[in-house]
Every structure is written in C-alpha cells, then in structure tokens.
Symmetry: D2
Subunit: 335 residues, 4 copies
C-alpha cells in the first residue's frame, strides 16, 4: 500500500492530514512538523502516524512513497526538489513555486524520474467548478467572452507575498482549468498600505489574442467578504458565488448578438434574457478528492486534474503580474 | 423670473423637463426637439412650453436665460459653446465634453462672460452620496485608503463612446466629489466584443501620489446588474449598494492598523470589526435638486455642487483612460 | 364601442383610469369623483373624459355600458347593485363586498340581468401567478400540500376593515385561483394595537377536508416588508417572493415521500433536493390585462378570470375569519 | 471537583460531551450509551471517561454529582426523576418533559432535595438572544407589542412528537426569556402529511391579557430554511435572522404612534422610520456557556438562566398547543 508523508502540520496541513488519513488506497505514514506543541495533537488523533521533527528525515525515509508539502510558498521549490530527487511523488500546496523557472525545473525533474508532480489547487475538485467545466465543455454557454473575479475580505497581511499571490491562485487555477485559450499578457496594478511594499489590494487583467478577457480584483482590506465570479458566453452566462451555501452556481439564459449597421457604424445588440437555473452540486469534500486523485495518479501513472502543467500556468500569470505592477501597470507578456 | 430652455427631449431630457417644470424660481420656457413624434407628448403635458425644431433657435431666443443640453456627448461642446456665446447660462449632460481641451475652452468662456456652467452629475445630489460626503468630511471613516466601484449590467452598446465614457462618469464624479486627493495617473484595459473597437467591458485604476487607489469595473455584458462601491478608511469602511431600495449605505465599524516587526519584516495587522450602521437617507429626487442648484447658482452667482471644474476632472480621467487603453494598459499621467 | 365609467379617482382609481384609457376595444367615457381638487388632474390628462360629481349620475348615464367601482369596501355593494339595476356591467375593487350575503345578491342580480360582474383581483393577471397556475395545472409540482403566505409591512391602519380584509384578499384570491380544493373552515387570531378593536396583526389558517392547509400572516406593523408565499407539492415546491424584481418565482426540485414502518410506528421520510429553477416571467402590466379581460368578457359574454364566483369565495373566507377572531380563534365553517 | 455524567451520546449528546469535557470547574466522569458502535468514538476522543451501558448505573454511580440527560423527550421525566432521587443535580435536554404535570413534579422534587434542575435551552446563551435581552430590558425598543417567529426547513419527521414540540421550544424559550408578560392562552392549528397524525406543519398563537401577541410558524416541509423572528416595540423593532452569519440582529429605528379622531373613528398612525443598526455580537459558543452556567449554578447554589421554571413555561405552552390542535384551534387556557 502507498505510504504518504506530509510536511507541515499548520492550518492547511491539518486538513490534508485529515483527508489523507481516510483514503482507502494509501496509508498516512508520517508527518514532519517542527513545533513541539503540534505533536500532541497528532499523537492524540493519529496515534499510528510517525512524527518527524526534520523535513529531510521524512523526505528521505525509505518507507515513504509520496510527499505532500504544506509549507510557506518560498520553501516549496527546495522541498519538492529534494523529494523528487529522493524518488518520491510530490504534491505541493498552491502556488506551486515562487517563479516560473523553479516550476519548470521541478516539472523537468519529475518527468525525468517518471514521478507524479501535482499542485493542490483544491477548487478544481469542488462541485461548483466541476459543474462550470461541464457547462463550458458541453458548449452550453457558447463561446466564452470573459471571466471576471472578485475575491476580497479582511485578510491576514502576508509578510512575503502580495495579495495576488495569496488570493488569486484560486481563481487563476479555475480560469486555467475552465478556459482553453492561451493567455497572452498581463496588466496589474495595486497598492500597499504598509511600508514593506507588499500590495494588499491589487487588480489584474489577463489579455488573450482573441476577444476573451479575464480580470481579478483581490483585497485583504474589504469590510465584506466577496467571492464572486462572472463567466460570460455568447449563449449563456454563469454567476459563481462561492459564499452561497447551496446555490453557488447560477446559469443565466442570457446572451447577446451584435451586428453593425454599416452606414451609421451603429452597433445593434440584441439582448436575450430568460430563465435562471441553479443546479444542485455534488457535495463531496473537495480536499478528499484531491487526495484521492493524487493517489490514483500514482497508482495508474496518469496525470492528475491539478497537474504540474496547470500549476505552472498559474505561476506564469502571477510572475507576470508582479512584473507589471513593478512597471506601473504596463502590459507584460506571459513567458 | 428665470427662463429655461432645454435642448433634447429624449430619455433623460424627459426627466429634466419634468423636474424643471416644477421649480419655483424658474419657468420652463422652451424645448428644442427635432423628432416630430416627440412634440405631441410635450404639447399634451406641457401645453405652455414653446417647441423649437432647431437647437439654434432655442439657444438664440432672447427670452431664454439658461440652456440645458441633453444631447449625445459629441454635440455637448458645440451646443454649449453657442449657448455661452449667446450669453446663456448652461447645464450640460455628463460627461461634459469629449475632451479635456473642449472642457477647458468652455470653462474659460463661461468665466469670461460671467456665466454659470454646470454638468448634470446627478448622483452628487442623491441622499446616498450626501451621506458619504458627510461621513468622509467629518473624518468618521478616518483617512480614505481606497475606492472600488463595480457598475455592470446588460447595457445598450453605445455606437460612439465606450463603456467607461458611458458608465464610469457616475462613479468618477462621486470619487471626485468625495475624495480631495488629486489623481495622478490612469491604467485602463478593456475589450470590444464588436468589430468597431469600442470596449463593452473595461477596467480602470486611478493612481494617486499617496497611498490611495481607485478602481472601476464597467460592463455592458453582465447578466446581473451590480452597483457596488467600497470606500475604505482606516477607521471605518463604507459599502454603497445603489440597488438596495432603502439600505444603500452601510457603514462598517471596521478598520486596521499595521506595524512592521523589524526583525522578521512581518506585518502585523490588527483588524477590528464591530457594528454595522445603516443610516436613513434623504428621499428627495436627485434631479429636482440638480435643477434647483442650477437655478440658485444663476440667481446668486455662486458655483453649483456639480460645477464645471468637477466636470472637467471627470473628463481628464476619461481621456487618460482612453489613452491608456490605446497603449495597452500603460500608465498615463492625467493632464 | 363599449363605453366605460369609473367611480372613484383615488390612488387605485388613478391606475384603473390609466389602464382603461389605453384599451383598444373600449372608450373611457366618464369618471365620478366628488373631490374638486382631483378634477384638475383628470382634465389635464384625460381632456375628453366627462367628469361627474355624483356617482349616481355616472351610473345612470345612458351612454355608459360598464361601470368600474374603486371606492371604499363598505360602498361596493350599494354602488354595484345600482349599476347592475341600471343594466351596466360591473367591475368592483377587491374585496367584492363586506359580506357573503351581499356578494350572493350581486351575483344573482348579474345573472338575472345577464351582465358581467367582475372583481379586480389584479394579482391573478401577473406573470408570477400565471406561471404558478401553469406549474400546478400541469402537475409539475405534484399534489399540492400547503400554501403559506406572509404579507407584512408598515401599513396604513385602515379605519373600517382589519388587516386581513385589507391585505389578505391578494393572497386568498391567489390561493382560490391556484388550488382547486374547496376550503372547509377557518381559524383566525389577531390583535389590535389601537382602541377601535380593528386588528393590525392577524393570522389565519384555512382548513380543508383533505390533507391540504393554508396559512396567512398579515401585519401593518412590521419594520420590514415581506411578500413571501410557499406552495408545497409532493414533487416540487414553489417560493413566490413578490419583492424580487426579476426572480419572483423559484421552483425547487424538492419533494418528500413518507412511509410508516409498522412495527415501530416510525415515519421514514425520504427527502429529495435538487436543482432550483427561476423561470422568466411575462412582464405585461397586470392591471392592463384586468381591464382587457373585463372588456373582452363583456364583448364575448364569457366569464373573466377574476369572476364574481372567485370574488365570493374570497369574501366567504374573510367573513369566516372575522367570525373566528370574534370567537377567539375557534374553528368557523365556511358558509 | 464536580463530576458530570452524561446520558446519551447521540447527535446532541456529542456536542454536550465536547463542551463539558473542556470546563475548568468540573470533570466529565462518565457517559451512558447503549449502542456499542458509539463506544469506540468515546474511547478514542475521551479516553479517561468511563463508559456505562446502563443509564441507571451512571445515575446511581456515587462518584457522579450531576447528570446531563440527552435522550428522547418521552424519557426525560423518568431519567431526571431517578437522578434527582439519587441526589444528583440535573440538566435535561429541551423540552423539559412531555407534560406540565411531569415538569411540576421534577421541580418540586429538586426543590425538596435542594438540587439544581436546569433545561438545555441553548439559544438563551447565544450572543443574539443576549443582545435582544439587553435591547428589551433597557427599554430601547419601548413596550413590546408582538413576537413573530418562523422556523421552517426540510426536517426529519419525528416519530413521537409533532413539529411544534420539535422546533418551537427554541423560540418559545426565547419568548419566555425576553418578554415578561404572562401568556394567557393558546390557539394552534396544523396538518399531518403522514398517517400517524403527527403534525409536520403547525401554527400557534400565544395570547396575552394585554395587547401583546406571539405567533409561531413551524414546518418540516419547507424547501427553504427560514429562521426569522420579528419583535415589535413601540419605539423600535428587531429582526432576528439566525441564518445570517454575522448580522443576526437588526434594530430598526421604526415605531408607530396612533390616535383616534373621535368624530370619524379614524385611526391616524404616524409611522417613523429611521436608521438600521446591526450590532456586533459575542461569538462564544452557546453550549459552552450552558455547561458553564450549570456548573456555576451547582457551585454557587443559584438558579441558572435556563432554569426549570422557564423550562416549565415552555412545556405549558406546548401542552396547551397540543390541546388546541385537538380541539381544532379553539382557545385553550394555559394552566
């Protein structure tokens, strides 16, 4: 049976541990965690799990087949590289790494060693995102025209990454998963209300070479929590409100056709509005499915939904956004 | 008694006529409208009002003291200039003109002739904006940190101006009225889903030389109508939702202080969340107050709230946004 | 062409006048209104309409074919009777009369004289009620199980009728129109916060001889306005929220089956929850359709949707509710 | 240190165990639970807690000072009586017992033996109810006029008690706690959609001898979950929506005064509407405070907030409601 080791037993690590502990085709073998006060919790709830105080010891333990990394972003690359070098399959928290170069290096290494490399883009495993994927892939909404996301709340000011690196990976991974067009360039602006120049409010436009556009509004400084994404197609449009307990997805039978009257250069738009449909969504816990997909991908040597290539695309956009903010919003091509 | 002439009896002109017809200190003398089918409606409802089929005839009628211009944007400058030349006080629909140069020329002309020049930025006369002005001027919300506005709906695709020129003037005028900081530069991006290159979705950041930022999200292609503005201060924050019938303004007793722990460069933010307060707002029709302010400003030779200088600031931002879109989102300084 | 006379030019009378004035197959001939200050408004807007200062003069004018009565409830019977006696078709405001006996007398009189007698239950002509009728008649929701209505707001305390007579006719007419079961009895309770013993808050249960139940919650003393009706079927359930601007009807794919395990007398209920569907509704003004239905019914000698029989059923329930309140909530059989 | 025994480790028992396990001034000594499959969970999470397979053994264990009873309603009386007889302090789940007579007997017994008898009316310990208590006791809302509660959802059809006994105890306990007037009589109606005559939808009016009224709408058969209580005072009104995550209480600065014009018997009501205030509420888990109040009451020999007398008042209303439903809604005096 596949043996899993998890590095990091913080807030999110706790959720990962809980979900890996109940998988049928794998065993949670060990957890690496330096803070002694966290060990008691592990012992109480997972008495058979081995506790490591050193990340390296876990990574190099020959009993372990696969390593899950739930540590701060800047440590992802180093830990993942070590694990791959040690012949372990790897799942890292999102975002995958701090740079495109690092992500590329990990992908290459995983390929060379024929190991699974996955990123924990949990949202791809929610019922809401699965339903949107289905609505888009089946052409129910027609050709996608735009993706507009707002993710704001009173949030912890992170000391090392700005609000886009912190909040946008969720929505960028959803965009990347849902929309097959290749993003071309980025514009981003933002502001820091602290003296360390780390933006706590930021805006990003993702430009494409066709007439699709994506926009992201992220903030740690909003008095209200908003999780609101609009996806417009020419046949239908989707409103995805992740705060709705049971009505996260609304499908509007709304579209528009336009034509130009040549003589007056006037655009005539025929709007159509119709019914609204709120599909019932699958209620499985997304993180359980993430763990399962990782395990199955290892067993079957297939690529998981949240594969490293998708994780790389997210980092490409984030890295370009950082460059654009530095250049005061100038368009930056995505590498 | 002051005699008013209105040029244009379209959708908005009808509202202007209705509100000028009931003012105490002025008389609605004439309406200029070329479309014959509109004349019957005027005759039925305003039997004593003189109908002009030529704009110039109304503008030059010696009985008329003040001219209200409710025609498409590209005609504002020409009509307003003629009216000022003819010695009439002028109120134009928003936005004031199609360019900064035109606005400056009108302002200069009005000054030289000692005439009132006003722009119909109606929102400044709503109970909601008045309440926000009061909350900001009294330092109730503390130092303003950001202004974030979303104004999207299924809207008429305009043939001559993009979605920012069409929808953003409302929010830019509110920003200009509420926030005393001087905007420094603009970044704007957008997309056209028609073949005339007129953006139907656009995003704009207004940058300042202090740590304030403003952002605008405008769309004619959203299945849901949203009118949502957040204004963050360091003491309190405001949510202005113009679609709420009776609770347009919510004041959150939410703020944040931040300090840097030097050794770790970590930002510690102390959030505070508290009560929410929903003030009762004045219910007067805003456009009635617009008309009254125009009349009073003429009578008293004072500047109206929605004065030409404020109208000019709005055009400055719009013009810069257009230049930024052309330069693919690059920062454009506001002239 | 059919000639219409309207008695009463108050709040609702104004709406009736506006809608009868634009009908194709009838002419608005006259309005009876005693208050002189209202005459100016009529003259200005409906210059060809004859003004009567006496209700009787209008009713007896030989030019008039049909009379619309928009006066206080206690005058309905007297005016309608006179009009029928004078050979006029009649539409009265809701509720039809102050008692079952009066309604029966009018119905008999209309039948004898072969005249149309209609009650202005406007809600039956809304897109929302039409959609619910369609959902119920097509068995989409299965067998109806309950009807639960809340209609509360800060309302005018009426001097002559209690809150049930004032607010419940809307919902009772909808119930009567949608549900074919015959109501059996009434329980009603309420309270008066004034010293005239007229209830400003009241509750009513309508009992049936099968397992259907209806309940009404009416108040003039709520700080929030609520218009909320649930209709439960065994296959689907409807939420009708009349305050929603464009989503008045929600159809829940929710139902329940129940069976009894005999040995333990335990009820096992299998709930099923699924999608929610928000149908687009017809946007025609309901009162226009009311006027049209009255005119067509006269022309074709057919019964209108809001016919006198339905109006009588509403009065039966209201009269029984009054009796039950008097008897401190005791069950009162519907006559 | 006080030693606690808990009878019943079902859904709610689990919550009680979790909250008693973390109290400072008491020790969770034992849990009585017959179902063997539940024992493993207890052992895993509370390894030092003694497991009893017989309720009587726990009740009679001399080490135990106080017994918490979390079993079906019909068993409350028997178990509580045994525990009191055995000299233990007792907290029972709500509702206290199945009849007034039983509740009275327990109260008498507890008094005779000088033992604390408490009912787990958890809602009295929520931040929302505490805030309402404060608003009412401080006369902020003025004289209370009405209490109107809606508690509906898709709920488990209980095999032994109807929907009022299942859902209304929450709201009746809140009413009893907040309003000092003594209820006089009950009217209740309802319907059973099963063949065991247990109502799954029911309505109840509580009448008072002054001009206060309370009403309850309970259902297990609603497609939407509603937790909505209005409390009207003559100065202000409260909307308590328990489903709101952070805005459960809204205070409307709305009131009404009324006077009668003697000559016309016309009621003139002056409504006043003003600001809305949403107070921040305490976030402590209510059940933790319940456990703490039980322990403190034992230690200090004082009455807990959710004391037996309050629990008795709830049962008085429930028993009268059952009688009224049997008598088809007739008014039943509260014993």
């Amino acid at each position: 049976m596949l043996k899993i080791g998890i590095v990091g037993f913080g807030y999110w690590g706790t959720n990962l541990v809980r979900n890996f502990a109940v998988q049928q085709d794998a065993v949670l073998y060990g957890i690496a965690e330096q803070r002694a006060e966290r060990h008691a919790i592990i012992k109480k709830n997972y008495e058979k799990v081995k506790i490591f105080t050193s990340d390296d010891d876990l990574i190099n333990d020959p009993n372990i087949d696969a390593v899950v990394i739930a540590t701060p972003v800047f440590t992802h690359f180093g830990l993942a590289k070590k694990a791959l070098m040690a012949g372990k399959h790897v799942m890292v928290e999102k975002p995958m790494t701090s740079s495109v170069a690092e992500s590329l290096e990990l992908i290459e290494l995983a390929a060379k060693k024929n190991l699974i490399l996955m990123v924990d883009h949990t949202f791809l495993y929610t019922g809401a995102v699965q339903k949107m994927k289905e609505l888009i892939d089946s052409s129910t909404i027609g050709s996608p025209h735009y993706f507009d996301s707002i993710r704001v709340n009173l949030g912890l000011f992170q000391p090392d990454v700005n609000v886009l690196w912190d909040l946008a990976p969720h929505d960028i991974s959803i965009l990347t998963y849902l929309i097959n067009y290749k993003p071309h360039s980025i514009n981003a602006t933002g502001i820091s209300h602290t003296n360390n120049n780390i933006e706590n409010i930021a805006y990003m436009t993702v430009n494409y070479q066709n007439d699709f556009i994506a926009h992201f509004n992220c903030s740690w400084s909003s008095p209200v929590k908003v999780r609101h994404t609009l996806i417009g197609g020419d046949k239908k449009m989707i409103l995805y409100n992740d705060l709705e307990p049971s009505e996260k997805i609304r499908v509007y039978d709304t579209g528009y056709d336009h034509k130009t009257e040549e003589d007056r250069n006037r655009i005539i738009v025929d709007y159509r509005t119709g019914d609204v449909f709120i599909p019932k969504l699958s209620g499985t816990e997304a993180l359980f499915s993430v763990a399962k997909d990782f395990i199955n991908s290892i067993k079957n040597n297939t690529q998981p939904r949240a594969n490293a290539q998708l994780g790389l695309e997210v980092v490409r956009i984030l890295e370009a956004s950082q460059e654009s903010i530095k250049q005061k919003g100038k368009e930056v091509l995505i590498k």
